[in-house]
Amino acid sequence: MMKKLTWKHLSFVLMLAILVLLPFVNDSRTLIILLTQIFIFGILAMSYDILLGYTGIVSFGHAMFFGIGAYTTAVMLKQVDTTLSIFLLSIVVGMFLAGIVSFVVGLLTLRLKSHFFAMLTLAFSGLFLVVAEKWRSITYGNDGFTFRAPEMFKDRITFYFFVLACLVVVFIALYRFVQSPTGRILIAVRENEQRTKSLGFQTLHYKVIASIIAGTVASLAGSLYALSLRFVNTSVMTMDITLDALLMTIIGGVGTLVGPLLGAAVIEYAQHTLSGMARDYPIFERWIIFFGILYILAVIFFPKGIIGSIRFIISNWRRKLKAKRKTPPALSHEKEGFE
């Protein structure tokens, strides 16, 4: 047990060290921007995994929390001031708003059975999209608006480190959360909600807790996303964002936190390279098609996602190793098989 733990810690520290040192080795603008984007979507995908992978809730409305964060930051930086403190405050305000919205929406919808819940979240998210479109005085409608970043984050590398720090904090916090007693109950809800109830747990409370946490973290991702583009429009509220989060989670591996991170990396990288190739090969202008194929293949061949499949292989391999180590006398082995 102890050994496994240190192995995990070691790879975490190693990965972190690489990511911290990378900008000093290779400060290519494209790479830094791509990595920043991966981190941001990693945060979003992890938050989605709290719902999908840990609590077993399929939500189609996750983009609204992302959008709340993005718009809060954008509006505050545009209307109030472009200082660092306003930016930090906007993150907090966004998370707070997202927390309240997810609490209310959760209380209203989480009593419903899964697919009804999914449809209702879609409706709520549509509602927010309409608000973002129509509240022109501050959102400037569909086209959105640009704004200026705080002085400090004009440097892409500083922003890279800031986002990386956010990612690490979120990862550790969520990791602790899912390993806590409450996190265990979320898994129980995923596995068998009715049984969890009969053990005396109010499952609605836990589903609302999960949705609040997922909502606030998604809002943080939205704030960072808006600042990374220094621009916001209604696309942050659309279904595409939810689908991205969903697919990153599924491809990386549901029910793990590393999985969604990896999924975010794979998808962002693939989007980047595939759309880049469009310059030479016109067919890649339709890169979305290749994505479709990738998704279908992933779901058929790796239903547990990248991390889930790796874990499966490792545990298989361990079992074989174990069996090899203690080869029991043939007779007792036979008897076991007989039973």
Binding site: R184, A188, R195, L199
Partner: protein, 258 residues
């Protein structure tokens, strides 16, 4: 003295079919009562009414004199009514230990702690392991529950029920689908609990020798009605019971369809 559990004209109707029909029964404290009756007699439905899984069409259940009409199944569990399920109902993709630990966690009211690692709650793990030893499942503690045999899942059900440490245990056919070798172990577990003397147990069973061995009293349900309620001897001699039910009793392959 007020009995710990009591029903008053408890009735449930599914369309035209009356599954439980005006049942009045009382359950003295620290008592083991078995419920017998042919398939479809309404035994499991009766359990579901007591545990709050179903709402009665008429009548009510009283726990320590208090009406349970407004109490949900979650609240009833917290008040002290724990039940096991006839169809095994566990968390399939968690380990055996994890299953029991969740139940212990509920009992210890560790519900909204979100920071500390769950493994740092040593006492919970220890209690869970103790219960697994009691139901003879300790060697499977790290196995995934889907990998267990049917009998082992039943044992796990009992361990989880015991973990809740409720005053009343509702056991719905704890030995259903078990192989003959496994039955005595469960029998021993129930006897151990009974002999400790601090639990009230309501047991649905088909295995008559086991019932006669364990029960303080037996109640017979037939077509949703309470046919008889009395000591094992009285029930065995009761003519109505003999005619209605005990004829087909030793059919081991009886499985209830609910």
């Amino acid at each position: 003295m007020e009995p710990i559990l009591r029903t008053e004209n408890l009735t449930i109707r599914f369309g035209g079919h009356i599954a439980v029909d005006h049942v009045n029964f009382t359950m003295p404290e620290k008592h083991l009562k078995s419920i017998i009756g042919p398939n479809g007699a309404g035994k499991t439905t009766f359990f579901n009414l007591i545990s709050g899984e179903l709402k009665p069409t008429a009548g009510d259940v009283y726990f320590k004199g208090q009406s349970l009409a407004q109490a949900s199944s979650v609240e009833r569990t917290r008040m002290g009514l724990g039940r096991s399920f006839q169809i095994t109902n566990v968390f399939p993709n968690l380990t055996v230990l994890e299953n029991v630990r969740l139940a212990v966690q509920s009992k210890e009211k560790i519900r909204y702690q979100m920071v500390r690692h769950f493994k740092s709650y040593q006492a919970i793990t220890e209690k869970a392991e103790e219960l697994l030893t009691l139901v003879l499942l300790h060697n499977k503690r790290d196995a995934l529950t889907t990998m267990l045999s049917h009998g082992e899942k039943r044992k796990l059900e009992i361990a989880m029920l015991l973990a809740l440490d409720t005053e009343i245990l509702l056991l719905d056919e704890p030995t259903a689908g078990m192989s003959l070798e496994e039955v005595p172990a469960i029998l021993e577990v129930i006897r151990t609990i009974k002999n400790k003397g601090d639990k009230t147990i309501l047991l649905i069973e088909h295995k008559m020798d086991m019932i006669l061995d364990l029960s303080d009293s037996i109640m017979v349900l037939f077509n949703g009605q309470l046919l008889a309620d009395g000591t094992p001897d009285a029930i065995m001699q009761n003519e109505t019971v003999q005619n209605a039910y005990l004829g087909g009793l030793y059919d081991e392959h009886l499985t209830e369809i609910t």
